[in-house]
């Protein structure tokens, strides 16, 4: 026990921690963790930028131990690593960015349910081992394999609480729609991790709306505040609707909800010009034409409908939605199917 405590302090001294105690990754613990996957421990899943430490299956397992994962969580952690190391995700830029965005993992499929990965009441907060430790394992690898140490590589001005851990299952059981993974082209019984670089959840409290149009008004308004990057460049945005809010829209297919929010969320050009991160050249670079002479011209917040990811999460009752704005355009959401 004393040895373990000394080892724990060693991890703090070496800056191999997120600021919280880690489980010391002994060979024995790593061996047990590796039993959660049939993959070769020496297989390289990729290298984590910018330090490019190799994420071998063994190194991933070691970080899963440090984060407190059970062996059966390992396939999700491995799939999460593969998603964020996909070139489209743009991890190198995210690691150094002044912004605060962190990789959110949204998990679909039967495996998530089997291991207790939670999408119901309180899923973005503490209390659920799978959510807490899988997300934490990802962040520990960004620090230890990628070198994303605050103030050294990471120039994030504030950081954000969701960098500690940011992992949920979609609440498929209480959703009126098909799972996110299916809408992204995967089969309904596939296990899929979707990684999105985004900001902390921002709540939309609305126990007033009784029809979709009313509900969309406050959601679109919250999506469209002038502080977010989505105003200026093409960027992802995740909208989590609680089952109660999703039920209000249940007569509409999710694609229609997406299209309607894309149409409603945005600001007049005149509003954009006078505040925030305005750059005329960014408006010229958008995938659609903007009339720069017309201050009443409506500029949609979501520059490409494929960037708005609507999921159902949270508990019932709960008149809430959560808006998670995207990073600065250098990242695209990536989904990876995984085998158990």
């Amino acid at each position: 026990m004393i040895d373990d405590l000394d080892a724990l302090e060693f991890f703090f001294d070496k800056e191999w921690s997120d600021g919280l105690p880690v489980v010391v990754p002994t060979e024995e613990r790593i061996g047990k963790m590796l039993s959660g996957s049939s993959r070769d421990p020496e297989e390289i899943t990729g290298a984590v930028p910018p330090a490019f430490g190799e994420a071998t299956v063994r190194a991933v397992a070691a970080h899963a131990v440090m984060a407190g994962c059970k062996p059966e969580y390992l396939p999700v952690v491995l799939a999460g690593v593969e998603a964020i190391l996909d070139e489209r995700f743009g991890l190198n830029g995210l690691q150094g960015s002044m912004n605060s965005s962190a990789p959110l993992l949204i998990v679909n499929g039967p495996h998530a349910q089997e291991i207790g990965l939670f999408g119901g009441r309180g899923c973005f907060g503490p209390g659920f081992r799978a959510n807490a430790t899988i997300g934490r394992a990802i962040w520990l690898m960004l620090l230890n394999l990628g070198g994303g140490i605050p103030g050294v590589v990471s120039m994030s001005t504030f950081g954000q609480p969701s960098k500690y851990t940011f992992c949920i299952a979609e609440n498929e059981a209480e959703s009126p729609w098909e799972p996110l993974s299916k809408s992204r082209g995967f089969a309904p019984d596939e296990n899929v991790v979707t990684a999105v670089a985004c900001e902390n959840p921002q709540l939309v409290v609305d126990n007033y709306a009784r029809d979709p149009e009313q509900l969309f008004f406050s959601i679109a308004d919250t999506m469209s505040h002038l502080g977010c990057w989505n105003q200026w460049v093409r960027s992802d945005l995740v909208l989590a609707l609680s089952p109660q809010q999703a039920a209000i829209c249940a007569d509409l297919p999710r694609e229609k909800v997406c299209r309607r929010l894309c149409a409603l969320a945005g600001r007049r050009l005149g509003d954009l010009k006078r505040a925030g991160q305005w750059r005329e050249e960014w408006m010229r670079d958008l995938p659609f034409a903007v009339d720069l002479e017309n201050d009443d011209y409506f500029v949609p917040l979501i520059k490409d409908p494929a960037d708005l990811h609507i999921v159902v999460a949270g508990g019932t009752p709960g008149p809430h939605s959560a808006v998670m704005h995207g990073w600065n355009g250098g990242s695209r959401a990536v989904s990876k199917a995984y085998a158990v």
Partner: protein, 188 residues
């Protein structure tokens, strides 16, 4: 019964960046001595970023920050509730460079953040009775009537936090009105 909970329930604790602040510390604003050790607690939501590296003057900077404070999803629109704005040193310097004290920044954000009655009526957690029970009079017959997001000036706390460079502020909205921030001095 939290619907979503939030990541900042794992841990949510910072020191004010007094070294890089152009102003006095929050504790002093709240009436404590400059040498006192003070903890302030506020029940708030996750930090929401305001990224702005275009503004070079305070008045322009305030627009996006006030806009983020005033979105229709937050509880602050409907009831008296705390709200914290953390300015990164770079944003604080823009304000200080224009000769503004922290009180000036506080006053201007109070004035600018808010929504018209007509907008409040259309979405979010609107209840006429909530508007009537506010500390401030609201003319519910006038859709252009401006309702400030922060209902009592003492509920808005301005602090300086984060690193340099960093053209960012962070807005932390309050809970439903059932909580007030509390500050306590302590002896180490």
């Amino acid at each position: 019964m939290s619907t979503f909970s939030q990541p900042s329930r794992f841990t949510f604790c910072i020191r004010e960046n007094e070294d890089e602040s152009p102003w006095g510390p929050l504790s002093q604003t709240l009436g404590f001595g400059p040498d006192e050790d003070v903890v302030t607690l506020a029940a708030v939501e996750n930090p929401q970023l305001v990224f702005d590296d275009t503004s070079r003057d305070a008045e322009r900077y305030f627009i996006a920050t006030a806009d983020a404070m005033a979105h229709l999803g937050s509880w602050n629109n409907w009831t008296r509730s705390d709200l914290i704005v953390a300015l990164a040193p770079q944003h604080a310097e823009i304000c200080a460079g224009d000769g503004l004290s922290k009180d000036d920044v506080h006053a201007r954000l109070l004035e600018m953040a808010g929504r018209r009655v007509g907008e409040l009526r259309r979405g979010g957690n609107f209840r006429a009775e909530r508007m009537r029970s506010l500390l401030i009079p609201v003319d519910l017959e006038d859709d252009d009537f401006f309702v400030p997001t922060v209902k009592d000036p003492t509920d808005l706390k301005i602090i300086v936090a984060g690193g340099v460079p960093g053209p960012e502020s962070a807005v932390m909205h309050g809970w439903s009105g059932g909580s007030r921030s509390v500050s306590l001095a302590y002896t180490p």
